[in-house]
Symmetry: C2
Subunit: 223 residues, 2 copies
């Protein structure tokens, strides 16, 4: 269960001051698929980053599985994240000096019971690139390595920041059905950002952001 | 006019050998909008990179505006590209130590008659971020800075690698109509990669790739 109470996040740096999130209240139940929609710059990635403890908040409280992560320091938040959460980044964040296999292995090593690395690579169609370095991959191939790395550790909660942004329709469908299978088979909670409203069909709950605020929460029957 | 004759591109590095493009023949007329479609890994970015001289080829010939760019060395290709071509990269490639304004200014300085920087920023909706650094921007905001930087110099040919991948539907439409306006008003030749087939509607010609080969060329009436 994720609970967010009256959370505010301000980016401040020199003359730059951005109210990225204002008075956010929301809750996400175990095993739910939640989709975050909203225009570019509306605060989706920021919300994902503070939900997963990647970034800190200025006001309010965030509780995940009874752990108040907003009161942990950065080292404790990192430990919590490594043990419980999977993250597919909007810009992939692959380690450039490690091969595809090694990048995914890093994810697997954080788990007591990970998937087989080769099996996961097969599921996202990147087995042919096993020994390549990130710079030797296409945009969509890098994205799929990022996906494999997040999924292989069978996280309790999987955060996905535009996981199919660089993929063609075919490959997008395969990735989404893989995410749905994780949710169905392992009861993984999914929090997914997309700017593609058709992807929202797989969600139990669709949260729409605009200018740092939640403007709509829609409960629906997921497909 | 861009002419590609029997072009082959192989990536070779240690044990890695990838036939990224095989026997490519195509031509692009001045003022045309050409869209490249194809699955992830099919060779679209590679084709764009060799068309614009960003990368070299192993076999064949590429001629742009009567200049055989495939026979130029890297320094000469860079000079040709700076003077004639605009490029929107799949991963934006912004300079991290320059502000939004300075990143776009770099594009403007390469032209004798650039657009007003503030006007272009306004057109893609990023004027509020003028003094920020790339790391202080959302994914879609970074993409729009990359677009502004390419367009501001009024290039003869504009290469776009998934220019709307990180953008919501609204902002995507604005970017695409901006690209169409460049084509209509300045007769800019547009070569655009997308994995979104609906974007292909704006094209005079749609070229489909699969596994490094052209599998279809469709001429159509552009919208
Ligand atoms: N430097 C490199 N070394 C080896 N292989 C490479 C290199 N760069 C690209 N490739 C491979 O060449 C193929 C084509 O890559 P390219 O980036 O052109 O694909 P793409 O069609 O743009 O894909 P996407 O839609 O995922 O961006 C891919 O299989 C990729 O793994
Ligand atoms: N480090 C930072 N400093 C200042 N402003 C920031 C910083 N990071 C993000 N922002 C701003 O906060 C706002 C929200 O950013 P965020 O990345 O959450 O948007 P988003 O909804 O994910 O957008 P996109 O769909 O383009 O990825 C944006 O206006 C952005 O410019
Ligand atoms: Mg984002
Ligand atoms: Mg590509």
């Amino acid at each position: 269960m994720i609970t967010v109470k009256n959370v505010t996040k301000v980016y401040q740096s020199g003359d730059i001051k951005v109210d990225a999130l204002k008075n956010i209240d929301l809750s996400i139940n175990d095993g739910e698929i939640v989709v975050l929609l909203g225009p570019s710059g509306s605060g989706k990635s920021t919300l994902l980053n503070i939900l997963s403890g990647l970034d800190s908040i200025d006001q309010g409280e965030i509780v995940i599985n009874d752990q108040e992560i907003s009161s942990l320091n950065q080292v404790e938040r990192t430990k919590f994240r490594r043990n419980n959460l999977g993250f597919i980044f909007q810009q992939y964040n692959l380690l450039p000096s490690l091969t595809v296999f090694e990048n995914i292995e890093i994810g697997a090593q954080l788990s007591k019971n990970p998937y087989e690395i080769k099996e996961i690579m097969n599921l996202v169609g990147i087995e042919a690139h096993i020994n390549k370095y990130p710079y030797q991959l296409s945009g969509g191939e890098q994205q799929r390595v990022s996906i494999a790395r997040a999924i292989v550790k069978k996280p309790n909660i999987l955060f996905c920041d535009e996981p199919t942004g660089a993929l063609d329709e075919e490959t997008s469908k395969e990735v989404l059905s893989l995410i749905q299978r994780l949710n169905k088979d392992l009861k993984t909670t999914i929090v997914l950002i997309t700017h593609n409203p058709s992807i929202a069909e797989i969600a139990d709950k669709v949260i729409t952001l605009n200018s740092g605020e939640i403007v709509n929460i829609k409960n629906q029957i997921k497909k």
